[in-house]
Symmetry: C2
Subunit: 244 residues, 2 copies
Amino acid sequence: MNFQERRTIRKYKKDDIPTEQLEALLFQASRAATMGNMQLYSVVVTRSEEMKEKLSPLHFGQPMVKEAPVVLTFCADFNRFTQWCKQRNADAGYDNILSFMNAVSDTLLYVQAFCTLAEETGLGTCYLGTTLYNPQGIIDLLKLPKLTFPVATITVGVPNECPEQPDRLPHLAYIHEETYQSYTPNQLDIIYYFKEQLEENQKFVEINKKENLAQVFTDCRYTRKDNEAMSAGLLEALKKQGFL
Amino acid sequence: MNFQERRTIRKYKKDDIPTEQLEALLFQASRAATMGNMQLYSVVVTRSEEMKEKLSPLHFGQPMVKEAPVVLTFCADFNRFTQWCKQRNADAGYDNILSFMNAVSDTLLYVQAFCTLAEETGLGTCYLGTTLYNPQGIIDLLKLPKLTFPVATITVGVPNECPEQPDRLPHLAYIHEETYQSYTPNQLDIIYYFKEQLEENQKFVEINKKENLAQVFTDCRYTRKDNEAMSAGLLEALKKQGFL
C-alpha cells in the first residue's frame, strides 16, 4: 500500500478478524523501536458485544466502537517489567513521570507500526483520540493494574467505505531548519489558507455561527473548559496508576 | 521492505540525504492519524556540524548524533495552532496536560510513520530515547517556544551496518483478551526466559556483577535515582513550556 493513499476507516464490514491474523500483526509490529528493548506496552483486545457496549460510552458513543469487529486498547505498561524485576529481587524504580513517558513512547510507536501493517493487509483502522479523555473509566473496565495506562484505542475491520482524504498542512508548516522558526502572521495565513477555504470547513463556521474556523476548534470542538476538566482527570488517573 | 526484517541502524555512510527526499518523506508521513486534523507536531532538522556538536552531549554523547547526516528532533507542537487561533481572535485553551498528551500522540504516530517510510526507501534510522532525559537543554538549543516540547530524536542516514536483530517478547506477553490478565510468577518466567538466557545478556550480568538481568536494568541502565531526577527535570520543563 502507498502510505500517502491511506485514510481513516470508520465503517466496517461484518467480517471478523481471525485471532491468528490479529496476533501475527501485533507481533510483526513489535519490531518497532522500543526503549532498551523493554517493550513497555500491552494491548487489550475487545471482541465481545458486552465489553463493546461498556466501552462505547467511554468513547463518547462513537459508533466505531460497537460496529468494528475488534477494538484494541493500547496501554503504556511498566507493570509487566516491574513484576519481573520484583520476582528477580531487583529494585524497579518506574513509578514516575519519565517512565510513564517512556512507556507512552514505546506504545505509540507500536500503535502506528500496527496500523501501517494492518492497512497493508487491507484492513481499515480508526484512531480514537478519546482514550485520554476519560482514562479512569477505561482503566476500571479493562482492569488495568498500577503502572499501566490506556494511551490509544484503535478500531479495526474490513473497510466498508472509501472516504475522501482530509487535507494536510503544507510540509513547510512543520519543518524547521536547525532551530525552531517562529511563525509570522503572514506565514500563518498561508499555512492555514487551504484549510480555511475548504467548503466543509466554511459550513462548520456557518452552522456554529462563528467568525472563523479557529473559533470552531476553540469554542466547539476542543474547548478550554473541556481540556481543563479532562486534564484534571488525566492527572488524577496518572496518580492512581502510580506514575505521579 | 518487510517490517519484520527492520533493525535499528546506528552506523551510517557519509552520503547526505537530499533536502527534497527528506521533505517528501516528512510530508508522506503526515498521512498518519492526527487529532482533529490539527497536526500537533514540528520537526527540527539538524544538519550543521555546529548544531550536532551541541546536540551531542544532550544525548549523552551517543555517536549517532555526530555521525548521522541528519538528526531530526520531533516536537509536540501546540504553538503553531495556538498562534493561528490568537490571530483569529479565538480562545486557545491548550496550555494543559491533556493537550500536551494529544500533541505527544500526534507526534509519535508521525515519527513511526516517518521511520517506516524512510526505511522503505533504504535509509536507516535510530530512535534516541534520551530526548526526554534532558528536555530543557534541547528546548534551549533548538529555541523551542512555549507549547512545544521535544519528544523524540531520530538519526537518519544510509546504513553502514547490518546488525543482528534483537530479541522480542513472545506476543502472548503483551496481548490480553477482554481485560488485562495479571501475570503469574510462572508466566513471567516463561515470558522473560528467552531474554534471560541470551549469551550477551548473561555477559552483562557477569560484567556488572549482578545476580540476574533484571538487576542490570534496575541497578545499571535505568535506575530509580536517575529516573526520579530526570522526572523532576521533565516536570519542570513541562511547566516552563506552559503545559502544566
